[in-house]
Amino acid sequence: GAGVSQSPSNKVTEKGKDVELRCDPISGHTALYWYRQSLGQGLEFLIYFQGNSAPDKSGLPSDRFSAERTGGSVSTLTIQRTQQEDSAVYLCASSPFPRGSTEAFFGQGTRLTVV
């Protein structure tokens, strides 16, 4: 597609369940980012991929969060044993080059609600 695509757009899950959020970056973009935006708040950085590698996972809020990227393309963010505080919009972005030298293009986000 022409832009960054995220699925699902909305997800309601019960507390304690696992969820998977998917991101399809713009074709050819080597860098991929995950951010979290709680209601009315700014963007919290979660993780960055350069190719399939995530050099730094320290932004992930807990060990219930994990992410992977395969084939230098699609990325999946997995949240295990979801908690109500995980409710937020999860945003994915990609950019053609790493290291911040170009802008990142964002997807429309996945709104996660944990009930």
Binding site: F45, R99, S101, T102, E103, F106, G107, Q108, G109
Partner: protein
């Protein structure tokens, strides 16, 4: 560490007024990039502009203009003759060369009233 401050949490203006959104950044790196994004009610972040640390030339794009001043570590954004469609949350962001993420400010919610 890098930090971005947007001191204005919310701004309300009447249509056709000019409005300036402030952004102050902190970094010890000499090579860095500054960005502005718009987040309309639909939620998707829309890229507006990128500036590198070696280019202090101000930029104008239609009703939008940006003032980059390294001396004050500021990268302010002005909308001239604001319109209702400009209502959104605006984020300023910073990335350093060889950095691993974009550091976003908390955002400024702009409401343009008819």
């Amino acid at each position: 560490a890098q930090k971005v401050t947007q001191a204005q949490t919310e701004i309300s203006v009447v249509e056709k007024e000019d409005v300036t959104l402030d952004c102050v950044y902190e970094t010890r790196d000499t090579t860095y990039y500054l960005f502005w994004y718009k987040q309309p009610p639909s939620g998707e972040l829309v890229f507006l502009i990128r500036r590198n640390s070696f280019d202090e030339q101000n930029e104008i794009s239609g009703r939008y203009s940006w003032n980059f001043q390294k001396s004050t570590s500021s990268f302010n954004f002005t909308i001239t003759a604001s319109q209702v469609v400009d209502s959104a949350v605006y984020f300023c962001a910073l990335a350093i060369l060889n950095g691993q993420n974009f550091v976003f400010g908390p955002g400024t919610r702009l409401s343009v009233l008819p």
